[in-house]
């Protein structure tokens, strides 16, 4: 089946089998190998992408279902605003060393992007709950949580919200 969708801000047309997952389509047909495939049954979160801005497991979605929709992968995040042109969440993961082998990183970065778009100042508990759907077997998550906090600061600073202490940031929600 021939489908068209918007991937990382660009309209694409691609031929896929009915059974081709969105993950395989993005990786194999469109070369977006930042979409990592771990478990292929919705558990590990490595294949997380944004569909119309909301996080989804791209291994649990068929490419044909994304027809007419907007898909964002880690390759589409860099917006030129941060260090080296990266997205602030990417900058923060790099600065805080929120990764070791990097396999889970694209999924974690996209999950973080969704979280911070919904809540610019999440509590530590919210961050832990939200990231629990993305398995990291290297880091023990400590550096990842630090990266999310840093990303929240960077994004608040960028959007002009006073980068205030956590308590004060509550008032801006």
């Amino acid at each position: 089946m021939r489908i068209s969708m918007e991937v990382n801000g660009r309209g694409v047309e691609v031929d896929v089998e009915d059974r081709t997952s969105l993950a395989d389509c993005l990786r194999d047909r469109l070369g977006l190998t930042g979409v990592h495939l771990g478990c292929e049954h919705g558990v590990c979160g490595a294949c997380t992408v944004l569909l119309d801005g909301s996080s989804v497991r791209s291994c649990l979605l068929f490419a044909v279902q994304a027809a007419g929709h907007r898909v964002t992968t880690v390759e589409g995040l860099a917006d030129g605003a941060g260090q080296g042109g990266l997205h602030p969440v990417q900058t923060a993961f790099m600065a805080c060393h929120g990764l070791q082998c990097g396999f889970c990183t694209p999924g974690l970065v996209l999950t973080t992007c969704e979280l911070l778009a919904e809540d610019p100042a999440p509590t530590a508990e919210e961050v832990r709950a939200r990231l629990s759907g993305n398995l990291c077997r290297c880091t023990g998550y400590v550096k990842i949580f630090e990266a999310v906090d840093r990303a929240a600061e960077l994004m608040r600073a960028r959007s002009g919200t006073a980068a205030a202490p956590a308590g004060a940031a509550e008032d801006t929600r």
Partner: protein, 287 residues
């Protein structure tokens, strides 16, 4: 692991969906959120000739909270229910439960009705449906019928739904405003299926319980209502000792299996303790 070959058929209306299901004569599956179906396909545990995608059917989307019922369309996602603060205020057991389904990425995509149709005995929505006496609307080419939750779940991942039927909506009657409700479950890891879950609804008048409902998940091949424990509560004064007694009765009534996640004794103890806790929270929330 990749899904086996199937024909993808996007339904253009509910009538079209039923025609497609009839065309494949039981060998097609309805594709809604896909968060349970696609893993089954990827594991090659399910091998349908076709998937009938109902995601494009706008008339099956959304939810509506009325004065005494919650109506949920077949492609309404868990996350939509989770983010409606009025539902949490009106029936907190629903909000308690929905927040514990998988992770946000799963809840962004998975549907209420899909979870019910999948009928995992440890899942939240089948348990909530039993707790609240939900009614399901099922459509086939021949017509429409309404199925009560109590008559719907047939066994492990099994329901009375015919493979040529599609559930178009579910209606949850809501307990009275003055009642209290709660859902408590225990899982080894955040986002996992619960080992055991307990839902409770309590109504009180003049310091005594006038109505109580208890549903336990993860202890049988379907969610179970525990009438014997409900009877202990009727007419009694709410309190820790009473709720503990109801928990003990639940433990005598359920017959869970042992598996690698927990043995039967442990699950029975969980059912006992979670019942006591759910009743206490529900009573606390009752006006």
């Amino acid at each position: 692991m990749k899904a086996p070959r199937f024909e993808y058929r996007a339904a253009t209306s509910v009538a079209h969906a039923t025609e497609l299901l009839a065309e494949y004569d039981g060998d097609a599956k309805v594709l809604a959120g896909g968060q349970s179906l696609v893993p089954l396909l990827n594991f090659r545990l399910s091998n349908p000739a076709a998937l009938v995608d109902i995601n494009g059917l706008g008339e099956l989307g959304g939810h509506r909270l009325g004065a005494d019922e919650l109506h949920v369309g077949a492609v309404c996602r868990h996350r939509e229910i989770e983010r409606d603060p009025q539902i949490a205020a009106r029936c907190p057991a629903i909000a308690d439960a929905v927040a514990q389904i998988g992770h946000v990425a799963i809840r962004n995509r998975g549907t209420v009705v899909g979870s019910i149709a999948h009928a995992d005995p440890a899942a939240e929505w089948p348990g909530l449906a039993m707790l609240l006496d939900a009614q399901f609307t099922a459509r086939a080419v021949q017509g429409e019928r309404t199925i009560a939750a109590g008559a719907f779940f047939d066994g492990f991942l099994s329901t009375v739904l015919d493979p040529t039927e599609v559930i178009t909506a579910v209606t949850f009657p809501l307990p009275p405003v003055a009642s209290g409700s709660a859902w408590i479950e225990f899982a080894r890891r955040h986002g996992d299926f619960a080992l055991v879950g307990v839902g409770a609804v309590i109504e009180c008048a003049d310091e005594s319980i006038t109505s109580a409902r208890i549903v336990v998940t993860g202890v049988s091949d379907t969610p179970v209502r525990v009438a014997a424990a409900e009877r202990v509560l009727h007419g009694a004064q709410p309190g820790e000792a009473l709720f503990a007694e109801a928990g003990r009765v639940v433990a005598t009534q359920v017959d869970p299996i042992s598996d690698i996640h927990g043995d039967a004794t442990y699950r029975r103890r969980l059912a006992q303790v979670l019942t006591r806790r759910a009743l206490a929270v529900a009573a606390d929330r009752a006006a």
